[in-house]
Symmetry: C2
Subunit: 332 residues, 2 copies
């Protein structure tokens, strides 16, 4: 009986361990990352904050990791994927809106002249967003997003947008979670545009998705409660809005933050300013062949001030070309 | 070897089960609840949605339970505890604000004439809230709340406010979590007023606390990033705001919702309107001896329409006097 009890303890120990950790001894948890400074910095940081007795040890509850989405978890070229969604929705809705033929920016858009449609700047974009993202219930909008994401294809690769996700970042998300981190998306993109697929694709549940939003209103529709999406801005989760969004949704400062553009800079600053060990990482798009190469001069995902600050502060910068063995999840 | 493998499987099954559940066979998980309809309804519902193969089974990820705070998890008489906090803060700040002596509602408040101070209605309350809740960083405000909650005493019982918590509800929170539920607070109270103590007291981490809020702004103060609390309303998480707040923070509809007033009605309606099994519960304050007895005529925590709808819809109504063996956590 002693023998059996001992065996049981061993087995229980093993099983209890695997309840909280997917890390299996000996296997590289980050196989798509080349050996190098970036990978080493990640592994060192996680080792430090999770090692019991280490001066840098952080209890699980405080292991918050926040990730930008566009350009950090999935691609963002030649334009933000949510903008493609909005343009597709304008085309789908056009038959019900004959008046759009004579109204900018819709008129140019429907003629296929995207450049002219967007020449109206933020006002034009806001109008496109509102007509495509508001005027329906939250349940209806979720279904619209589900239908689009299941079928729409990227113009360059011909892949589903959910295939345009970076495999190294998926491994990183899983590695952090296996080490007791709670992973959040903190994106300038729409919160309700990401939630319908983020759990399946990233393993991030809706309650850990933070993003920009329009207002909603509780209404009774034929005796059934609905949340109607209103054409009114609620919150922009970008730049200085990211720490605000993190405080609103998470209520604690991240232990680690991951971004790729100047729109993530304040999130990284806010994270770095916390006490004890903190980790900040920028993905630098340097691979024109497998992905895209852009930084200071790009209108989408501009990385200028952030790159300078990363160098000055010693944050980790991923050189996509050399640090990632594979880029997208569809690569063998 | 076969014998051992079989044993290991059995043991692993046992251990895996206990990873997700604190329920220990034979022990009553709700000992402060009297046997009766309310307790039975809770246990039946949890059994139904967690039993594999049951037609009502719900996967863990969707087991969202939302709880009102004032009057549902802790008491709310003779006035909302956060209002006491605000009044205490006015007194603490008064020496730095000599001008308050001649300015309502502060003047009456500082003379101890609460009734006259609040005679100005919502405008007076908003002014008291803003001068006591804004003008400092989020980190500073958190410390102010921590200091107050550690020392302030309830005027009737002389107990700490964190002792004015209902033991049956603590048991219910733990019971739900042991059965794979994620528990959220959804309160009309201030989100940043609850977060500093909700984890320790309720086991609910900051990222699962939803409440009313004022706006914050990211700023650099001597090179250090801060989030400044602004005297500007951001969101009221009450009544029709509760489903809106739930959608914003959780992104899915609750499986179960718990409240005590008409301010929770829309949350319960929104929950009940979901597909499959749902659970809605009202705590009815019926115990004038151990707590307070109030409903339709109360200005704090009025329960009128909600009580009617609960009866019409067959929601569970807790009769505090008969359903709870003990009320507060400080009772033996």
């Amino acid at each position: 009986m002693l023998q059996t009890s001992k065996l049981m303890l061993v087995v229980m120990g093993f099983v209890v361990l695997t309840c909280g950790s997917n890390a299996v001894g000996g296997q590289d948890p980050l196989p798509s990352w080349s050996a190098g400074q970036a990978k080493q910095a990640i592994v060192d940081f996680v080792g430090n904050v999770t090692k019991a007795g280490s001066p840098a040890f952080v209890p699980e509850a405080a292991r918050i990791a926040t990730f930008d989405n566009d350009g950090t978890l999935w691609a963002e070229q030649p334009m933000y994927f949510q903008m493609v969604f909005a343009l597709d929705r304008v085309k789908a809705l056009a038959p019900k809106h004959p008046e759009w033929k004579d109204k900018e920016p819709m008129a140019s858009l429907l003629r296929g002249d995207l450049k002219r449609a967007l020449a109206g700047g933020e006002k034009a974009i806001a109008e496109i967003v509102m007509v495509t993202h508001a005027g329906m219930s939250t349940v209806e909008f979720e279904q619209i997003v589900r239908d689009w994401i299941a079928t729409a294809k990227h113009p360059k690769t011909g892949r589903l947008y959910t295939d345009m996700i970076y495999r190294p970042m998926l491994e990183l998300l899983a590695y952090l979670r296996a080490n007791g981190f709670k992973t959040f998306i903190v994106s300038g993109g729409g919160i309700e545009f990401m939630r319908p697929w983020a759990e399946k694709v990233y393993g991030i549940p809706p309650e850990q998705v933070i993003g920009s939003s329009i207002k909603t209103r509780f209404e009774m529709r034929d005796g059934t409660p609905v949340l109607m999406r209103l054409p009114e801005l609620n919150f922009i989760d970008d730049g200085p809005g990211k720490p605000v969004g993190i405080q609103m949704h998470v209520g604690r400062r991240p232990l680690a933050a991951f971004g790729n553009s100047d729109g993530d800079l304040q999130m990284l600053q806010w994270t770095a300013a916390g006490s004890g060990a903190r980790f900040c990482l920028y993905v630098h798009h340097t691979d024109a062949e497998r992905e895209w190469a852009y930084d200071r001069a790009s209108s989408t995902g501009r990385l200028d001030k952030g790159l300078a600050e990363a160098k000055a502060k010693g944050w980790t910068v991923v050189d996509m070309k050399s640090d990632w063995k594979r880029v997208f999840v569809f690569e063998k």
